[in-house]
Structures are given as C-alpha cells and as structure tokens.
C-alpha cells in the first residue's frame, strides 16, 4: 500500500505518518527513511526532535539524501517504509551544492520518477511532503522552479497512491482511498 501525506508545515504530518507506518508494518520491519542533510545547528535540533518523537516505535533509520532507490540495495523491500520528506529529498537533488542557486532540473525530474518507483517497489510506503502552494507571493525563478518540481512529484505520488491524506492541525482530510483499518 502507498500512502501519501501532505499539508501545511508543523501540523503533525510526521506523527501521523509514523503511526500509520507502525500500523501497516503489523509487527514487521519498518524503516524511517531520513532524507534531510543537516546544514546547521537548527537542522540538527529538528532531527533530534524527530528522533525523540519516534523513539520506542521500533523504526530502523536509513539516511539517504539523494538517489532514493539506493536504499533498496540493503533494506528489505518486504518492509514498510516511511519517507520523510519528499521536500528535503528534492532540495538535495535540485541543488547539488547547498550554497549555490545552480539547479539540476534533470536530477529533480529523475528524483520524482525514483520516488514513485521506490514506493511501488516496497510492501508499504508512507510518504510525507509539504504543501507550500497557497500564499500570496510572487517568488523568484529559483523558488518557483523548486515549488513546481515538488508539486510535480506530489501529483505523481498522489496518482500512484492508494491513500492520500492532507493533515490540518493534526487532523486528517482524506482525499483518496480508505485509511488502513
């Protein structure tokens, strides 16, 4: 089963994704695919918070900042995978050098296809993204390219998913399918 979760920032997407992952794994192996490459102390703090949040839930953590399919070389495809998040993965793929606005759009496109392939290659996938599309701003070209690439991946994933959930203040809005019960 593929579950796609998006919604505004700081709304409880990861917590909901964790719970669904544990539920879908039904006592089997479940992986936390961590995609963020920390750039500063603030990132490290965020990662510490996430690790604390999933402590005791039995996750095996896989760190993979680019080339998501590479983690299937060692992990068990029969397991349940939580990928958190598409947003961070795309950031790493689109901007090979984090300190430079030079974009690798080709890599971003491949990344989108890879994430769908990844989700379809494992027993269960719970994939988290971010909804960053509804503000009144006219962004520069780099930011618009990033938003468009992320939206393209989101839509591909939503189409390939069995369940699509939008999270608002820790609550679920079901856009597609039925919650695993």
């Amino acid at each position: 089963m593929i579950v796609f979760i998006s919604g505004g920032a700081k709304n409880g997407k990861s917590t909901i994704a964790q719970d669904l992952t544990v539920q879908l794994s039904a006592g089997g192996t479940h992986y936390y695919v961590a995609t963020m490459i920390p750039a500063d102390e603030e990132d490290n703090e965020r990662i510490r918070r996430h690790i604390e949040d999933r402590d005791g839930l039995g996750f095996e953590t896989i760190e993979v900042g680019r080339n998501i399919l590479s983690c299937l070389e060692t992990a068990d495809c029969g397991g349940t995978f939580m990928l958190d998040s598409v947003t961070a993965l795309l950031l790493n793929e689109l901007f090979p050098d984090p300190l430079c606005p030079e974009m690798d759009v080709e890599s971003a496109r491949r990344c989108g296809n890879d994430v769908v392939t990844f989700a379809q290659s494992v027993k269960n996938a719970v994939i988290v993204s971010d909804f960053i599309y509804s503000d009144a701003a006219r962004y520069d070209k780099v930011t618009e390219t990033y938003r468009k690439c992320l939206a393209d991946i989101d839509r591909k994933l939503a189409a390939a998913s069995d369940v699509v959930i939008e999270v608002a203040a820790g609550n679920m809005i079901l856009h597609k399918g039925e919650l695993p019960g």
Partner: protein, 124 residues
C-alpha cells in the same frame, strides 16, 4: 458557473480539461488586465486581478456587470490565501481583492472544486 480553486501547480487546468473535455482553444489564460469571456474556461483569475489592481479597476463591480457573460463558464483561480500577510501593500491588496472575488464567485457557482495534488475535493 463552475469554480475551480487550488494552490499553485496543483493541476487545476489539467483537471478542468479532463473533467469538462476542454482543449487549449477553450481556455483563456489571464496574463494582463483583459479577459475574454467568450472562452468556455478562464484560467488564472488571480493574474487578471493582479493586473487590474495596478490600474484601479473595481473587480467586484466588473464581475457583477459582466455576470451574464461568465454565468456558464468554468473559472479557475489560484488559492493565494494561506501565507503570512505580505509585506508589500500591493500584494496585500492583491490577496484581499482576489479573496473577496473568490467568495463572491463561490456564492454564484453551481459547483466549487478544490484541487489538491491533482485530486478533486468537492466543496460545493
């Protein structure tokens, strides 16, 4: 009139094309302060608003006066309402006027669809 809203890049136009069997020729793309209601579908109402507030057009008045021309149309507007209050006065006005217009159009619409990651959420 059918109103379609949703965030940027969410697939609003693709949805309209598929659901209402439209081709590119049926769609008017707003890029400036002009609009062609003879087309079945108007895309980018927020861009029309953006251009109109630069020259002081009263948008609600404009849409009310042209109601007969769009009452059978498919109107597509981007949801630009969920961010922090914009710093620039013109961006604040853009957001406010687009919001007022969306509320008015929602009231007039026979259906309102919100597109989220390419999926339709029926609001009305």
């Amino acid at each position: 009139m059918k109103l379609i809203i949703g965030g940027a890049f969410q697939g609003k136009m693709e949805f309209a094309k598929e659901k209402y069997n439209l081709t590119d020729e049926d769609i008017f793309m707003c890029t400036a302060d002009e609009i062609d209601f003879s087309k079945a579908c108007i895309y980018g109402i927020e861009e029309f608003v953006y251009a109109c507030i630069q020259n002081g057009t009263d948008l609600l008045k404009f849409f009310t006066e042209h109601k007969e021309e769009w009452s059978g149309s498919i109107l597509i507007c981007q949801d630009i309402f969920c961010g922090v209050v914009p710093l620039g006065a013109d961006m604040r006005e853009w957001r406010q006027v687009t919001g007022q217009l969306c509320k008015y159009l929602s009231g007039e619409a026979e259906s309102v669809s919100r597109i989220f990651c390419g999926l339709e959420q029926k609001l009305k």
